[in-house]
Symmetry: C2
Subunit: 303 residues, 2 copies
Amino acid sequence: MTDHLLNYNNKIIGIDDLSTGEKFFLQNSFKNKNFKFIKSDLTNLKTAKKIVKNADIVMHFAANADVRYGHKDTYRDIKQNTLVTYSVLESMRVNNIKNIAFCSTGSVYGEAKNFPTPENDTFPIQTSFYGASKLAGESLIQAYCEAFNFKSWIFRFVSILGNRYTHGHVYDFLKQLDQNPKKLNVLGDGNQRKSYLHVDDCISAILTAVNKSKNKVNIFNLGTNEYITVKDSIKEICKTNNLKPKLNFLGGKRGWIGDSPFIYLDCKKIRSLGWKPKFSIKKSLILTTKYINDNKWIFKIRK
Amino acid sequence: MTDHLLNYNNKIIGIDDLSTGEKFFLQNSFKNKNFKFIKSDLTNLKTAKKIVKNADIVMHFAANADVRYGHKDTYRDIKQNTLVTYSVLESMRVNNIKNIAFCSTGSVYGEAKNFPTPENDTFPIQTSFYGASKLAGESLIQAYCEAFNFKSWIFRFVSILGNRYTHGHVYDFLKQLDQNPKKLNVLGDGNQRKSYLHVDDCISAILTAVNKSKNKVNIFNLGTNEYITVKDSIKEICKTNNLKPKLNFLGGKRGWIGDSPFIYLDCKKIRSLGWKPKFSIKKSLILTTKYINDNKWIFKIRK
């Protein structure tokens, strides 16, 4: 997003605590005089108020983005997602910034019953700490919009693929295969149906929505009009790398506690603004696999 | 609730920081050997873990219950509603309590479009800090149910009337009239349509649901099959006290920021369990007015 916006002559202040982000990914941005970087986390409201300022819009992408381990550390999502969102909103309020774009997640639908799932689906029941913390963030944003005349763009993503990918199933699989190309452990029964979006398509969708949709609260699903089973994902990854590992399914419909076995979002709303994705899920899987092949150093950044 | 449960020989540990609760209301409970009281707030997790224990069920009613001033102190609802709910849940987890009943609110529907509003209404947009904080609480509870095998009963109330009433429109109106019986300031245009439930009916509904509904997550609207305008509320209150004040409407469709001009919940689900309210809204308004007439000391507990 930073590289893209800088290309169009925008001025950017990037704030990141680099706990899961990588400075290396900003190497092009750092060369640009319109880019300023602040290494800081936003959990402390006093600090946040000092640095979240002087902007037309805040793109609030800071989060724990890993849905899987919420129940292992029940406070992490509250702190990094809900409370950081509060810090950002409160800093915006005192510094008179009125526009916020927010990365939410398709996980807020819990285990949806309607597919593809539209933005105005029935009142959801949460199944993960991650989803709960993001819905709390969405709700806070909406309260700020009502009380303080903010405008918000809330994006409910499927999983994101593409360059600079550092977590998710392709990462996990390739990391395993890098150590042992003959065997692959797979969470669940492999029949989980999931939807993915390429990061370039994600960026263009966010900018389309922010430029064209001007309600008080603008909520958009972001995804492709497809889904793929975990088994078929593995096929694409292995075909790309010419591997034929033995698959060891760990069993169960769900890969982990709170894993939704079917994610498929209705993206008519964002498409009605003229956006459509350039990459199919298969193409995105292949590109992501190739990216990781060329950047094996990323295997070292996560336990 | 405490008096009621003690009458049926239950053992109760009451925890209250008495910031908005009144010790006086527990005078009967204190006489009962099955009642133990701990004066503490639950914002501190370490403290909470020491006292939220040894119970079959936690009835988590601790909250800031006033929807009106959220935007004046943006952290209050997060702290007293969302984070205290986290403290309670985490204390339950470490102390192996698996059942929780939770006071949520009809405010989580924001400004609903469907009336009466059912529990499975469309995905809501929050309009108040109070609603946002309670939805965050609901969501956390659901995540605990999924991850740790909790059972939950989540109640979305309309406003509660009856004995021990210490905040809300009847309180505000009678307090004004106590000082000047000839004039009454009314927030909004008086045409706001609201629904109310008598506290005795609320208690019986909660116990009906907890005893009869045994899903993982049990969500119930609680209200009457009626609504009343603020103007008609005023009529009942004034008739009961033989007053004819000049009404001064402060204007606007909403009484305050985030006020929902129409609240009317679909209560078919709780009624399907055999519960129905004993008191109409009018009867509840009259009883509440008489209760306040006999307990004018409550005017002193709030600014």
